[in-house]
């Protein structure tokens, strides 16, 4: 397929979604229970979709890697979820949320999708409140809000620093209800390892039971991928250890296009790396930037003395501190979007003003503690401060925290149309696994919103448009040759891996991959570096397939085999990211090409050349992928240079 049809409804922005819903085909209630849907993933996107589809009457198979749906990575989100409720009467509206999201994404997202996201955002909050999600409340009993990076209104709903947990537990409880009723068949510790296609449509999956190691077959009328992002390609990231891109990658290899793979988000407020024994990075919620002030020493000799342990940050006088975000971006100050804050931190560290190991800046609470009192600061951020202290052994009430940017979220993912369907009929992708709503950069508190929007309010409608004529199609037997062939393919790959019996562990190779990715495909990229990365990644691939060592048996609980299967895909995902980054000779959002910046060091887009979604199509082993372009026509707003200064 080379014709990309995003299926965006005609007409004014405000009425596209309601028009779609009014005209979409429905499935008769009596027929729904005869239709099966596979949902891969139990994060916010997967749980909410599985629960909603089952409530409607469909029969759902739901899978996750962890022992319980409640442990999906979404649980880790701290800061909050956006919605355009305008409860604070500060001028928020659906349009403004739409506008901020489009602008924050550096005009590389689809207008219609983003508008719809803003439109359904309010229902998400209502739904969660009804489920018993305990959001923070004002003394009068109404819902509380805070502000987040990239917005000048307070539209973020939260539950202390555990918003993701509370939202996921809400979706999990809705899912549990359906599991209890027998409407959802839940398979935990089961990993999708292959997509099964019949007559060009997605009809099933092959799963590896992670406890027995056995492969199992599942068939359905449609398959929904809600498997999260691929940020762990970088080895060190803020993602949970089990986050991976494999499910999406298998779909790509079966013909689903991959959209904007190079667009990875760097989060500005992670705890810096402590050394080479590190397995992952820990994020400090971005909400800290609401009150915390970010600075480095103004004088290079102070920075040097701090790094040498001769000076403590509290000894640096106010006038000798460079609050570089407040200085450079007076209108937004410490609340500039993530990409801007991350780049500014890197710029200061590269210039020699970094603290700690040199790869860190301060996030200081001395002034807010004085202004608001310690109690207020504790109520707002107490658990984050506690977490920071456990990890670093420093007390942030007394000395400023140290932070540094880290890989956090992947804006790229499976390409989907307005209906959230991929280029494979019957294969849908939702949540972080799709590429859709964030453009080149995701604003804080928008991923939770998107995951739940997709799962509760969008997919359950759009999937019916596809399923409405599938009622004629009887359930498929998993004895069909397509299933046998897919299973054999997986088994061959597993046997090949097990037989390498090389010298390096999976983690050792993954670390090397991560280093290449961070150095050449990380925060700042250039043509020479990306070309080099492509060569180095080819070497790593060879190294992996000839030298990895996996102990144990293939058909057994085997944690190293699990990791190896994912690493095989991470390496290829890394290659595609580098290709995509090389093609995109502009800077936008989380993708910064060093050759393309303004004289002030800001990202320089080239709208005349790159106003498109890059959609990569797999061509086969060792063949260069082909890219198709989905042009991004901006009908309703004008693209401007992003400006957070005034």
């Amino acid at each position: 397929m080379s014709q990309l049809d995003a299926k965006i409804p005609q007409g004014p922005l405000e009425s596209k979604w309601s028009k779609y819903k009014a005209n979409q085909k429905l499935v008769n209630p009596a027929n729904k229970r005869r239709l099966d849907v596979i949902v891969v993933g139990t994060g916010l996107a997967g749980s909410s979709a599985a629960a909603s589809l089952a409530e409607m009457g469909f029969h759902v198979y739901n899978f996750c890697i962890q022992d319980s749906p409640r442990r999906a990575h979404s649980i880790a989100a701290q800061g909050g979820i956006n919605a355009a409720k305008n409860y604070q009467n500060d001028g928020d509206s659906v349009y403004r949320l739409f506008y901020d999201t489009i602008k924050g994404g550096d005009y590389r997202a689809r207008e219609a999708n983003v508008y719809r996201l803003a439109e359904v955002s309010n229902s998400i909050i209502d739904q969660c409140v009804a489920q018993g999600v305990p959001f923070a409340r004002e003394y009068g009993g109404t819902l509380a809000n805070r502000s987040f990076g990239g917005a000048q209104v307070s539209r973020t709903f939260y539950s202390r620093g555990i918003t993701g947990q509370q939202l996921l537990l809400g979706a999990y409880s809705a899912l549990s209800r359906q599991v209890g009723l027998g409407k959802v068949e839940l398979f935990t510790r089961h990993e999708m390892v292959e997509l099964v296609m019949i007559d060009g449509r997605a009809r099933g999956i092959i799963v590896r039971d992670l406890v027995s190691g056995k492969l199992k077959r599942f068939s359905a009328h449609a398959v929904v991928i809600a498997s999260g992002g691929y940020g762990n390609t970088f080895f060190l990231s803020s993602n949970a250890m089990e986050c991976n891109g494999s499910a999406a990658w298998q779909c790509y290899k079966k013909g689903a296009y991959f959209g904007n793979p190079c667009m990875a988000q760097i989060h500005p407020t992670c705890i810096p790396q402590h050394g080479d024994q590190q397995s992952k990075l820990t994020l400090m919620s971005e909400s800290l930037r609401n009150d915390g002030r970010i600075w480095v020493p103004k004088k290079i000799e102070d920075a040097e003395a701090i790094r040498a342990g001769k000076l403590r940050p509290t000894q640096i006088k106010e006038e000798d501190r460079d609050y570089y975000l407040e200085r450079r971006y007076p209108a937004f100050g410490n609340l500039v979007p993530r990409d801007v804050a991350s780049r500014a931190a890197k710029e200061r560290c590269d210039a020699g003003y970094g603290v700690g190991t040199g790869q860190a800046v301060y996030l200081d609470f001395a002034e807010p503690i004085q202004r608001l009192g310690k109690d207020v600061v504790t109520e707002r951020y107490g658990n984050l401060f506690q977490m920071y202290e456990k990890i670093t052994a420093d007390n942030p009430y007394e000395t400023p925290m140290m932070i540094f940017p880290a890989i956090h979220y992947t804006m790229g993912g499976l390409w989907v149309d307005y209906e959230l369907m991929t280029t494979i009929p019957g294969l849908f992708a939702i949540g972080e696994a799709n590429f859709s709503d964030h453009g080149a950069n995701r604003l804080g508190a928008s991923a939770l919103m998107q995951g739940l929007a997709d799962g509760y309010f969008i997919l359950p409608y759009t999937i019916q448009n596809y399923l409405s004529d599938q009622i004629q199609v009887p359930r498929f037997s998993t004895d069909l040759p397509e299933f046998a062939a897919a299973e054999k393919e997986v088994m061959d790959k597993i046997n090949k891996l097990m037989n390498i019996k090389g010298k390096q562990t999976v983690d050792e190779i993954h670390k090397k991959l991560g280093q290449i990715m961070w150095e050449y495909v990380g925060m700042g990229r250039d043509e020479a570096g990306l070309k080099k990365a492509i060569e180095l990644l080819a070497d790593i691939k060879k190294e992996f397939w000839t030298d990895v060592r996996i102990p144990g048996q293939a058909i057994d609980l085997n944690i190293e085999l699990e990791k190896a299967l994912r690493l095989a895909d991470f390496i290829e995902i890394g290659e595609l990211m580098a290709h995509d980054a090389l093609d995109r000779a502009e800077s936008c959002g989380g993708h910064f090409r060093l050759e393309h910046q303004t004289p002030e060091g800001e990202a320089l887009r080239h709208d005349d050349l790159f106003a498109y979604v890059s959609c990569w199509a797999y061509q086969g082993e060792n063949k260069a992928p082909v890219m198709y372009k989905e042009p991004l026509d901006y009908e309703f707003i004008e693209r401007t240079q992003r400006n957070y200064k005034s």
């Binding site: 489920q131 009993g141 809705a174 935990t188 609980l557």
Partner: protein, 251 residues
């Protein structure tokens, strides 16, 4: 300042629920005290793989203290010798050069061992599936602010709702009771107006499921509260008991 230390770890190894397990001791050199406990185990596993052995199986995921996936009974304490944290948040600076650290799985009838340090905690999900929810379909909710909830009530509900389902309470309890976990969920909904209509049904079903799955009863030793990484209070157990009696009285 963090330094590097040498330690021994005594680890419980057990191939499956049916096998008899045993302790095996391993030596580890040059562990940075800035590393987390699980990073130490990663290093040990790397070492084992190089020596041609199978790695130690343990559950973990977020490594940020929130998913509830990590477990481990370390030197006699669920989640190790520190308060209010999970195993993944435990750092090696809690240990000294030359220490021998004993690592076991959660031990409880409700949590059978799968392999080594990994146990099966799906019983918690089953309890929740029995009634731990508010029955509301997607798409029919009224405006969030139409259900006002006082600030303090919301905070209490969050306290209860912050349970991560790790199972340390069960592992710490000499009766293998799951009361702290179950009461945390019951309390969250009991405190909020949303869940009131089905409160009686909820508590009865969850308690019945808990009993059916072989968890013991609470005898108020408070070991659960002491070991809970999220500081979930046993006052929730009292609240659950009240809810339960209320529900029974209605029968």
């Amino acid at each position: 300042m963090d330094k590097n230390i040498n330690i021994k770890v005594r680890v419980w190894r057990q191939r499956s629920a049916k096998d008899k397990g045993r302790f095996v001791t391993y030596d580890l050199a040059n562990i940075s005290q800035g590393s987390s406990f699980l990073e130490m185990l990663d290093i040990l596993n790397n070492q084992l793989i190089h020596e041609g052995e199978e790695p130690i199986v343990f559950d973990h995921d977020c490594r940020e203290g929130i998913c509830g996936m990590c477990s481990l009974y370390i030197d006699g304490h669920p989640h190790g010798p520190d308060n209010l944290i999970t195993t993944c948040q435990l750092h090696m600076r809690k240990f000294n050069d030359g220490d021998t650290i004993t690592i076991e799985p959660w031990r409880s009838a409700g949590f059978p061992v799968i392999r080594d340090l990994m146990v099966d905690r799906t019983s918690f999900d089953k309890i929740q599936q029995a009634g731990g929810f508010v029955s509301v379909n997607t798409g029919s909710a009224i405006d969030g602010n139409a259900i006002p909830i006082s600030h303090d009530t919301a905070e209490l509900a969050i306290d209860a709702a912050s349970c991560i389902g790790c199972g340390a309470c069960v592992a710490a309890c000499k009766n293998g009771s799951a009361m702290l976990f179950v009461s945390a969920k019951v309390s969250q909904f009991a405190l909020l107006p949303q869940g009131r209509t089905e409160a009686a049904r909820r508590v009865k079903r969850m308690v019945a499921k808990m009993d059916e799955l072989g968890f013991g009863n609470c005898t108020n030793t408070r070991a659960c509260e002491v070991e809970c990484p999220k500081g979930v209070s046993i006052s929730n157990i009292a609240r659950m008991n009240r809810e339960f009696i209320k529900a029974k009285n209605k029968d």
